[in-house]
Amino acid sequence: MGFILSLVTQERELISEEVDFIKANGVDGEFGVLPGHTPFITLLDPGELVVRKGDSLYAYYVSGGVAEVLPKSVVILANTVEREDEIDEQMARKARHNAEEALKQPITESERQTYLLDLKRETVRLSIVARRRSGQHPGQLTEEDGGGPFHI
């Protein structure tokens, strides 16, 4: 028995079906959800959303939003979402490079924050792409993931 996941943005509905597990990036850190989770609401940071349904794993880039977790359902109201195959790697690479260069310049604190956010965002995007290209399952654990609640 899984739970119902709704992944929606202003512009479209990406998922509305029963899944077994998700892992998302909340403002207070990554969290995993299995059926029967304690109800909670959290804001999301830019990051990866991993969804497991049966034996399949799907990865999405979520730019932020709100997640509502209930025992039998999860609603993710995302700002924008990109499926892993929708991420434009070249654009991301360029944007990351721009941000890195900009951070080297003498800039105001608020600008710095913006660029740091850019940098973080593009890094997440690129890591999703890189993993996809290496043929590695998004759910496979790597050293840096450090275990966590995610066991397949």
Binding site: S6, Q10, E11, R12, P39, F40, T42, L43, V66, P71
Partner: protein
């Protein structure tokens, strides 16, 4: 009896009209298909966030947020969604009529409007109602940013406690053949939001855990809720507008066809009568010559 020439002229002009209405029908139907898809795509988010707000208000009785507080109502703010252009059947009129009915049901309450669409501006001017802001020229493929000026005004008025309730009036898209005027309460957030059905019963007992905390989440969630609902309703209105226009133009085209058919009949009869008359004149002229 009208002259042959004048009927010919009228047939021509109706044919021109038919061509125009036909073209407008086709334009509207192309736009309609896109707008209907957009409505389908934007509905889930709006529904989900509305349900979430209802659940929140049902679960927690004491939410430390002004948008959840019910106040005695002296002024109601209305967001009126209308079309920019006409020739789209009765949909604007139906919404305006509902506004009047709504106001008649609430004597002693002041009403202020934020209008989206030119037709609504005209309506306010004609009816002498108080508008405090309006936007027009929104694109049907537009982004949510375009409606933010309207939502910001409404949110500010509510925050300053000048408005005690905020409602939205728009035309709900049901199908190509049916669009219904609708009104929905948006603020304050309570279990009677949206259509007022309180079906968002709590799916669990107890409270949510909030990360980082209630205040931060609501600061993000409430404006997001308000904006996305208004945005989605504007999209509904577009789909309704194009559907209504397509139907109106389709009717106009078929009316034009009917008129052309009837006038062609009259025209042919007249022409035949003229020919017969000419023949009989010639014949009687010839008779007269022979007899003479």
């Amino acid at each position: 009896m009208p002259s042959l020439r004048s009927i010919r002229g009228r047939i021509k002009s109706v044919k021109n009209t038919r061509q125009i209405t036909k073209a407008m029908e086709m334009v509207a139907s192309a736009k309609m298909r896109k707008a209907q898809m957009r409505v389908r795509d934007t509905r889930p988010y709006a529904e989900k966030i509305l349900e979430l707000m209802k659940r929140l208000s049902a679960i927690e009785s004491n939410i430390p947020n002004i948008f959840f507080k019910t106040r005695p109502v002296t002024t109601i703010g209305i967001i009126l969604v209308s079309t920019d252009r006409g020739l789209c059947g009765p949909i604007n009129f139906n919404v305006f009529r509902q506004v009047f009915r709504f106001m008649a049901d609430r004597p002693g309450v002041r009403f202020e409007f934020v209008v989206i669409g030119k037709k609504g501006q005209d309506f306010l001017r004609r009816s002498g109602l108080k508008g405090i802001g309006s936007i027009s020229g929104i694109k049907d493929r537009g982004e949510i940013e375009e409606i933010l000026p309207a939502t910001q005004v409404a949110i500010e008025e509510f925050q300053k406690e000048r408005w005690d309730e905020v409602w939205i009036f728009y035309t709900h898209f049901e199908s190509t053949l049916s669009q219904k005027p609708k009104m929905q309460k948006l603020l304050p957030i309570g279990s009677d939001l949206g259509d007022g059905k309180t079906n968002a019963a709590s799916p669990f007992l107890g409270e949510y855990l909030y990360e980082p905390d209630t205040k931060d989440i609501l600061e993000v969630l409430v404006p997001r809720y308000f904006e996305s609902i208004v945005f989605q309703r504007v999209m509904e209105n577009f789909a309704s507008e194009y559907s209504a226009r397509m139907m109106a133009m389709r009717n106009a085209t078929s009316n034009a066809k009917e008129v052309i058919y009837q006038m062609t009949l009259v025209y042919n009869k007249l022409r035949q009568a003229a020919i017969t008359r000419e023949i009989s004149e010639i014949a009687s002229g010839a008779d007269a010559v022979q007899q003479g």
